[in-house]
């Protein structure tokens, strides 16, 4: 009888988490109104650098103006060689476990509910529409951790943390194998603007997640490695943490999945989104 019980318990231990996994809902909203999207396992190529060179174009001559100065064709040959030498093949990252990621950046309203204050710079008279729907910003990585700790105490059903850089990038890419086209970065991202906008103002990505590009930089869990892209394993310690996705002041140049930036940033354009699992 005792043996049977042990076997049943063991089976339960092995099977139950898988059953609950299979039953995971595609979308979850917590008691603070934070919406999450289920991200399923898969893999992606990270840190592939294929720097562009462009092609020689003869100078444009406009009537009454000095002719434009341009580099000679041979400069493009030198550049092509340098670009080839600088290129990096990247490495494959496999996401083994499903996870939930915030459909939106954490808003000022949500921060207020959890923390009882609002540190954002763009609020009140600086914002024309509903401040509460704008992302919270002006927070350090440590502030984000404080928020998460508090939320974990308040919500007995879910566990929260910051995404690591690969979880962030995998969700941002939403299946995209290569970089984002500029035109799409502008469709999906609040970039080249002067202030934040309400979250979800632009188009979502292929997995229904908003503002992965632009609006505010997003803190991830990892320490920064002082390099252009992440290493397969992030450093164990460091001075700064990684920031992803660029902000409203970003350009299509850095508003891409690949950009691997770091703190401290401007403050007023630095926020976060969180990942969640069911307890």
């Amino acid at each position: 009888m005792l043996k049977k019980l042990v076997v049943m318990l063991l089976l339960g231990y092995v099977w139950l988490p898988n059953i609950s996994l299979m039953a995971q809902a595609e979308a979850v909203t917590n008691s603070f109104g934070m919406e999450f999207v289920l991200i399923k396992p898969g893999s992606m190529l990270v840190g592939k650098y294929q720097p562009t060179v462009g092609e020689y174009k003869p100078p444009v001559v406009r009537a009454g103006e000095q002719p434009q100065w341009v580099l000679p064709p041979k400069a493009y040959k030198v550049a092509a060689k340098m670009a080839q030498e600088a290129a990096k093949p990247g490495f494959t990252v496999t996401i083994k476990r499903p996870y939930y990621i915030g459909k939106f950046e954490v808003t000022q309203e949500q921060w207020q509910k959890v923390m009882g204050n609002n540190p954002a710079f763009f609020q009140g008279s600086r914002v024309k529409d509903d401040t509460g729907k704008h992302p919270v910003e002006n927070i350090t990585w440590q502030d984000a951790q404080t928020f998460i700790k508090k939320l974990n105490k308040l919500d007995k059903e879910h566990i929260y943390c910051l995404p690591n850089e690969f979880e962030w990038e995998y969700a941002a890419r939403a299946g995209a194998e290569d970089d984002i086209l500029w035109a799409n970065a502008r469709k999906m991202g609040i970039i080249s603007e002067q202030i934040t906008r309400a979250v979800g103002s632009k188009e979502p990505n292929a997995w229904g997640i908003y503002d992965m590009i632009g609006n505010v930089w997003e803190w991830v869990q990892d320490y920064y490695n002082d390099k252009i892209f992440a290493d397969p394993v992030p450093p164990q310690s460091g001075k700064e943490h990684v920031l992803k996705g660029a902000s409203f002041t970003g350009d299509a140049k850095n508003a891409t999945y690949l950009t691997h930036a770091a703190g401290p940033g401007n403050g007023f354009d630095v926020g976060f989104r969180i990942v969640m699992e069911v307890r």
Partner: protein, 235 residues
């Protein structure tokens, strides 16, 4: 016999030190000529996060790194009202410049460097619209092509009043109608920029930006110094 060499040595030292231009009186050096103590790299500018800023023969050298990625070097300290002095030698086809009152990601008023575009000495905004853009139309009077040129920039007021001198000649003076910074900054860092030319991938788009930074191009700086002015100064 040996005594004969003394005047020669004195003369040599005289010419040597006068050749090394000095910072103007009342200015405090903010670059020590040995390393980048007091400066840091912006990790959030779109220009690039891993530029090559280093010291060589006493000069601060500004380049791209890796190929196609520029960046912004910032002072650790923020300055409010000040006069900045520096000497720069810039290659053709190398777009960059001096950022004043810069934010950490390089939102700033910018004194442009771009010899091939003919815009060196213009006042622009980096990642922000500037109410009154200035053209350095008088620059030819003072400019020494392919050589060292000194820049003195005066920045005063909550609503910025900015003046530029090149080689001691006033090039322009402007009082902006408003503070153009999105966050209303009244102080910020001094920054030096190397422009990006390459996207991470051709998938991102078809970009032809090589004229913004020729392969291997550089900016060189020396005698970077500042004179801080009264915080309450109004002009």
């Amino acid at each position: 016999m040996r005594l004969k060499f003394i005047p020669v040595i004195i003369l040599f030292l005289f010419f040597y030190y006068s050749a090394l231009a000095q910072v103007p009186k009342g200015f405090k050096p903010i670059f020590n000529g040995k390393n980048l103590k007091g400066w840091h790299i912006s990790r959030t500018t779109h220009q690039g996060t891993t530029p090559n800023f280093h010291v060589e023969n006493g000069y601060l050298i500004v380049k791209q790194q890796p190929y196609g990625q520029g960046g912004v070097l910032l002072t650790d300290k923020k300055y409010q009202n000040f006069e900045l002095y520096l000497e720069a030698k810039i290659d053709s086809f190398s777009n960059g410049g001096i950022f004043i009152r810069s934010s950490e990601s390089g939102i700033a008023y910018q004194i442009e460097f771009d010899e091939s575009a003919g815009s060196t000495g213009n006042l622009y905004g980096e990642r922000m619209p500037v109410s009154k853009v200035m053209q350095a139309t008088e620059r030819a009077k003072a400019w020494k092509a392919n050589d060292w040129n000194s820049f003195r920039i005066r920045m005063v007021g909550e609503i910025p009043h900015i003046t530029l001198w090149i080689n001691g000649v006033q090039i322009w003076e402007v009082k902006q109608p408003k503070n153009d910074f999105t966050a209303g900054a009244v102080a910020g860092m001094i920054g030096l920029q190397s422009h990006w030319t390459a996207l991470f991938s051709p998938t991102a788009g078809d970009w032809n930006g090589l004229n913004s930074w020729a392969p291997g191009a550089a900016h060189r700086f020396r005698n970077i110094a500042i004179k801080e002015l009264d915080k309450n100064l109004k002009e």
